[in-house]
Structures are given as C-alpha cells and as structure tokens.
Symmetry: C5
Subunit: 217 residues, 5 copies
C-alpha cells in the first residue's frame, strides 16, 4: 500500500514484553531509515505506553515491516494511529514551500524535546455538525485556529495528519515543543477557538520526551 | 447456519499467539476455498490487528470451521464482524447483473491492494433518527450517497454487507482501493453526504494491504 | 436463589482456555439437565465467543453449579446475561397456554438452528423516555411490535427475558430462526417499529449455530 | 483512613486465579470479623465475578488488610465499590433508631439469600440535572421513591451507601431479597419513580446468592 | 522534558506483578527524592489499584526514570495521570505566597492521611460549553467554587493540576483529608456549585490511605 501524495504516518505506542532485544529494536529503526522512512522515537510518561515510534514513509508496506520488526524484538504495540500527511481543502493556494512542509515534513524539529500526540474528530451533533456547516464558515474557523496557533511559532511545531478512513478519529495532532508548559499552554489556549470549542472531539493524549532510540531501550 | 440469498461474510482480525503454525494457517485458507468459500487476506497496520481474513460463504458453518482452524494454528481472533451480502430496499429494481454483483461478489478486485474495513450504523437520535425518516427521504439520501461514491469508480471497489441482528453495528463497509490516499479521499468526501453527515455512526477503522496468505504469515 | 414464577435464565458465552476437558463439559450439561435445567448449546461466530450455553432453571443455584463445572472443565466465561422468563405488564389477560409458553418455554425449537442473542433497554432520554410514557401508549407500541414480529411466525421463535436488577441491560432477546437471512430480516424490520426506533437501546449481538454439546467441544 | 460517622463499605468482586488457598480465604474473613468488620459473602452469577465480599468497618485500613489477604489467597479483585454508610440530607429528622439502622446496619438480613448490587448516579443533563434542582423538589422525589420501596417491606432489605469522592458513581445499592423475582420486581417498579426515570444513571448489575464463606470457595 | 514554571506531576496507580522487589521500590522512591522530587505514597482501596505514587518534579525525565524503576521492581502501572502545577487565569493577582503554594506545594500535608484523586474536564455541550462562556462568567463560577471549598479549610487540602494537552481529562484533583467522611462531604457539597453541576465532567475516583513506602510494599 502506497501513498501517492505525501507520506504515510504510523504512530506506534509500545510496552516491553517480558524480554526485549535492545539491539533488534535499534536495528529495526535503522532498517526503516535505510528505506526512506523517518522514525521519531520518544520515552512516554504514564501507564498508556513506555515508548513511541512515529514512522513516516511513502510506502506503508515498509512501515508494516518496521512494526513487525519491533514486535519480534519484544515490544507490544498497545496503541497506534494510522494517517497520512495532507494539505487540507482550506489550505489550497498556499505557497509551494509551505505545502511541501506539510506533505514532506522533516522531524523531529531541533531543540524541541517535548512530544505530544492526540487524535481528534469534528463533531456531528445536532447543534454543531461540522459536515453540514458551509465551507466558508469552516474555512474561517480554520483560519482563526491557524492564526491562534501561529502565536506559538518558535516554541511549538505542529503536524496535523489525516486519517479519515484509516483510523477511528479523523485527524492526528503531533506536537513538538520546547517544554511541557508550552504543550499545555498551546492546547489550552486553542481550545477556546470556535472550531475547537464547538466542533472538536478529542481522543487520548500521549506525552513524552524525544529520545534517540539507543537511549530509549 | 446457512444464508439462503447471498453469502455469509465474516471478517476475522487476528494477532499471533506465542507460536503460529504457518503451514496450518495456509491449509486453513485452502480448506475453506475448497468448500466454496472466498478468503481475502491482508496485512494490517497498527495495534488493532496484524492480519485480517475476510471469508465469504453461503454456509456459515464452513466459516466457523475456518475460524477454528485459524485459532488452532495459533492465531488469536481479537476482533471480527459477522454480516451477509445484501440488496437493500433502496436498490430494488436494479438490473439483474448489478444485484448479482452485490449478492455474489468476486473478491479481491485486481490492482487494488489497499484494504479498509469499518462498521457503521444509522443514528436514532432526537434530531436525526433514520428509522422514523420516511422511506422516500431515505431513498434520496442513499441515491445521493451512491452517486457520490460512483465518482470514484475505477479507483475504489466498495462492498456493503448487512449485519442487523448479526453484529453490534448495522452495516460493514469493505473498501479496496489503488492506494491509501484514495481510501482517505473517498471516506472524507462521502462524510459530507447528508446521509453520512447527519445519520452515520462509525465504528473502528481497519486498514492494511491485500497480501496472499503465504506472504502473510 | 430461586425463581418463584418462571425460570432463571443464564446465557454463558465462552472461550476455551489452554486446555479443555471435553468430557467434563458434556458431563456438566448432563448434570444440569438431570436437575431440571434446560441447556441450549451453540457454536458462535467471531471473536466475542466460541461457544454459548443458555441454561434455564427455576433454581439458579443449579445454574451457578453448572457455570462452575464449565469453568473447571477449562472454559473461560467471557460474557453472560442473567435474566428470568416473564409475562410483562402488557400481556396480562393472555390465554393460559400462551403465558405458560413464555414462563416455561421448551428450547430449542425444532428445525431452527440459527441462534441469536442480544440485550436491550428502553431509553430514558429527553425526547424519548419510556419510563415517563403513559401505560396506554407503551402498550400500543408493544402491541404494534408484537404484530410486526408475528408476521415471521414459523420462521423465527423469539424469547424475551427480563433482567432489570439482574443485569446491565433490561431485557434479553433470544432468537431461533431457520437461517441467517431471517435473523437479519426480522431484526431489521422490527427496528422501524415505533417502540424500537425511538426507545430501543441495543447491546452486543451474538450469533451462531445450535449445536449438540458433543459436537461443540 | 477512618470513617467518623457510620461505616466504610467495600464491595470486592473476585475471580479465582490459577490456584486459590481456600483456608486462607476463610481465615481472611475471620480475621476481618475479629477486628469489628462485618463481611457478607456471596456466590455470583455470570462472567463478571464468581464471588463477592462486602466488608463493613469504621476503620478502612482493616478493609485494605482484608483485601490484601484475599489477593494473597489467590483471588483476583476484578471490580469493586468503595463507599460509606450515610443518612442523606432528605432523611434528617428521622427517629434515632432508623438513622442507626442506616449508619450501622446488621447484614445480611435473615431469610433473604438473593443478593444484588449496583452503583448509580444522579444525572446532570440539560433537561434533568439533579444538582440544579431545588432541594424541595429533590426531597419530594426521594420521598416518593422511599414510599415506593416500602411497599416491598418484608421481601427486600435495601442499603444505600454514598460514594461521591470515593468511587466513580455516586451511590451504591445493595439489595437482599427472598427470591430473584423480587429483585427484578422492585428494581423494575422503582424505575418508573420520577427520581429514577428522569435522574437515575445506572452502572453494572451484580447478582448472586448469599453463601457462607466455607461453602463459597 | 522540563517544566519551566511549577512542577511536573505524575500519579502512578500500580498493581504488583507476580513478584515485587520491595527494596527496589523503596530505593526508587529514595532515588527520586534525591533528585528534587517529592513522592507521595498511598495504599489504595478496591480493584483499580493497590498502591499509588504521586511524584512532583520540575524535570519530568526524572519522573520517567522513577516510573521505569518501579516497573523494574515488579509493579505494573495500570493507570496514571500526567499534569503540571498551575496558577490558572482566574487566580492572577493573588498574593505571591498563595501562588507559590499552588506552583510549589509541599505534600502530603500533616495529619491528613485520607487521599483521593480524580481527573475532570469542563463540558463542551450544547447547553453548557465552558469554552464559549464569557471569561467574567467563568471567573464568577470559579470564585463561588473556591469559596465553597474554603469552608473545608483545616479538614481538607486540595491541589488542582492542569493537564490539557498532557492527559485525557483537563485537570487532576488531589485531595488530602482528615477522614473518609470529609472527602465524601467536600466532593458532594461542591457538586452543587454551578461550575460543577453544569460544567463538570468527572473521571475515575481513586481513594486510599497515605502510607510511607516502607509500610506500603
């Protein structure tokens, strides 16, 4: 399974089984990287997962091989998110280099070791149904949301990937920030944006520290 | 338990137990095929399942035997969907060959190795209750939805099977597409159709690559 | 714990543990039958359970013994439903033999090997609260529902047992039908009845084939 | 952790692990009883639990020791409810002996071997928010509910314990009845009371037979 | 990952695996304390967890090391909550020492061995959406809530930490009280405050006794 425009992105949240082959985990990351994959690795906090591997690759079969290699190395994949990078319908007409940044991001950004991931959907409720809201109104809300996010430039890098048809919730949000306070501040602030306050549905939140794979296991 | 009109369809989502007998898995598929079953096999992405087996057969007892054979070969069935092929009440009067395609599909379609499955129901909420909506209105929404889907002809093949009384959600959607982008595009686009935007309730999404059983295990 | 009027009914949905003592399972069924229990056994489809045992008995202590015997034989009870047969308040005044059929059913019916079970409750929402709806209105809906069900006579036998105070959802529906299509048709058709469309809340659906215990394990 | 007025109450729902030390379970109950705890034991029906231990004690540290002893004896505590006995704000001014019965109950009542437990909360929805309903209105609903319950006097004994701040749902209801029919009848009947029909939110229902600990394991 | 203003706070709820290395658990707590962490330990009641470790530290990498040490000592982290101490937007302008108490609390308070934790969020429903409520109205509700809480001064110490972007629910509430009655009384009383009654969404409740780590394992 290939992605024609952009990259396939799989977030794998893992816990160790009884025995983990440390070298095999490292080798799995190196093998994926050698096949045009980017792999971001993080040490996670709390009971949901101990480690996270975010793999980006145009060929999702390579990501499946990567997942198999991690599992064989003794990691249990306890949660995940399957999505692809995207330029959404509200961003058409952006300068080429900005589109490229969204479709083909280089991760992780330097100097930002605080990592956060959560999935989200747009509500389809009686009083707030995104999918029956006119395009212009949706576009305005997206622009307000974007402007609100840009006030955090330099302190946070955000990547939103699309998962409609690929995973349970419609979008995945990956945040890289300079510290934990900033993650909290940006998500709290943006929750007051009309698009989030009324239409946002949020899933589980994962948080941890970007960590090179050889320090991770 | 037999299906009189159409085929029984069981989607089995699996993870390996400690030890899997590769030959026994292949033999299970071959045995089912020798008893008039079609079996579609796929390598899945993410934590929900590692492999998927979609079996279609008029005799559901044969499917149960197939499930038992997979379990004995060391696969743990971690999720599933039980349904039957159908011609729904909105499609009555279709040309015979189109009805036959729905009741007796030949799967997987050629050249489409991206596979997606999700279950769905129609809402019964205060403001959007499919089951108290007049037939004509429902039929119109189904026709809009069908027309919207047909714009993807050649890039996606879709099979909708009915599960009311057989599984928790009312319909199962199996998609075969030429790439991952198309799965995302078709499901995102159709979510704006009135029937989906207002009445659709979606379950878990599974995605993977169609893979012959001998490359799968 | 005894049931004074009618029978206690426990549906046990099971998966095998590592090792199952086939003879002990059969002996458990025979022992329960020798103590005035009826036991219906079925091979189930999908991941939720591999086998189902529906035990009917006025003395629920005998059913508990039966459950213990199955567990000791190596079956893991992964889901269940505890209820008792009932004549509800809308059926008062029915001819004696019809009441007896509901309170003391003889199961399984002959020639109907397709088996389905699901629990349900009546909604208590703002716009549809069964428990503040006047008795007459409720009775009318129940009669419409009954009439709708009777059009399937000869193809389906249905037993509704009450579980308020005994299990999470308020009623259990056990269906026996001549084939899988009929289960789907009857449940789909009746979902349009006012009582179901507006007030029905449905739990998990189990489906399988009635199978004598010695072919089951 | 102590309870100053009334008793701490912990319901422990258990399944056996691979090996249970029968004598140690009995000793755990006896030890708790010797430290001013009451312990009610029951054999439960269905998959949720095989046995239940309801411990009442002013010193909750003793209950924690009891829990540890059961776990060390080989029981897995799979569900639980932590609460304390209470005289609620609607019952102020009751005769002293009735208050004492609620704060310091003697359990189990004689001749009532059918046991039921479920947790419940009061709704905080748009159309039915208990916590913004005036006190007088709430008091009236509680009195109607109490009167409705009293028609079952002699057939059922009910204990309602409070858990706001201590467990997920706000109250725990423990019922002791002469037979299973009565449990079903009382809960079904009271569900039509305004306070339950509009404001009640119900959790999982547990049902079983009061059984002395030496017959239980 | 560091917290710039305030402390990172991770609540770890644990169950023992087959074998726990008591000395290693104690050593893990001591090691964290030696690296500027506060660690509060408690024996919990019920099935959700047997022990709780609440770690406060500006450097969340130290907390991750602490978590790893507990896991290696044989504890299974079955639930958790990741947050940071905060001075919220309604408390701006408070005297310096009160802000410091919130950002850099000293825990546990003396003489309060009853411990409670629960997460909560503010609703975003049609009739009660915190995030579209004007700031002044929100501030008033927060002040009413604060005043209501202060009537329990001397009997309860409360710490509210923020988790938007860090965990699934938006705030964590940690309560320390003189007895179990007080926990119940304060949470029940405050549920009638407008901010809680209309806008509060509550998660799972954990309750136990503050216990030094060497008595805990």
């Amino acid at each position: 399974m290939r992605v024609q425009q952009g990259l396939g992105v799989v977030h794998l949240f893992c816990k160790p089984r009884v025995w983990v082959d440390r070298d095999a985990v490292i080798a799995a990351v190196r093998a994926a990287e050698s096949k045009d994959c980017q792999v971001v690795t993080a040490a996670m906090l709390g009971h949901k997962a101990d480690s996270a591997f975010m793999a980006l690759c145009a060929d999702m079969t390579v990501i499946r091989e990567f997942q198999t290699a991690l599992q064989r190395a003794g990691l249990d994949v306890v949660d995940s998110y399957v999505s692809i990078t995207e330029v959404n319908e509200y961003a058409k007409g952006m300068p080429e280099h900005m589109l490229a940044e969204r479709l083909y991001p280089k991760l992780p950004p330097e100097g930002m070791d605080s990592f956060c991931f959560y999935p989200m959907s747009k509500r389809r409720e009686a009083h707030a149904n995104w999918y029956v809201t006119p395009f212009e109104e949706r576009r305005e809300m997206m622009m307000e949301h974007g402007a609100s996010g840009r006030t955090f430039a330099g302190r946070v890098v955000q990547l939103i990937t699309g998962a409609t048809g690929l995973d349970d919730m419609e979008w995945g949000v990956s945040l890289f920030a300079i510290d934990a306070d900033t993650i909290k501040e940006v998500v709290h602030t943006m929750r007051f944006d009309r698009g989030s306050a009324l239409y946002g549905e949020f899933g589980r939140f994962y948080v941890g520290t970007i960590t090179p794979v050889d320090s991770l296991v």
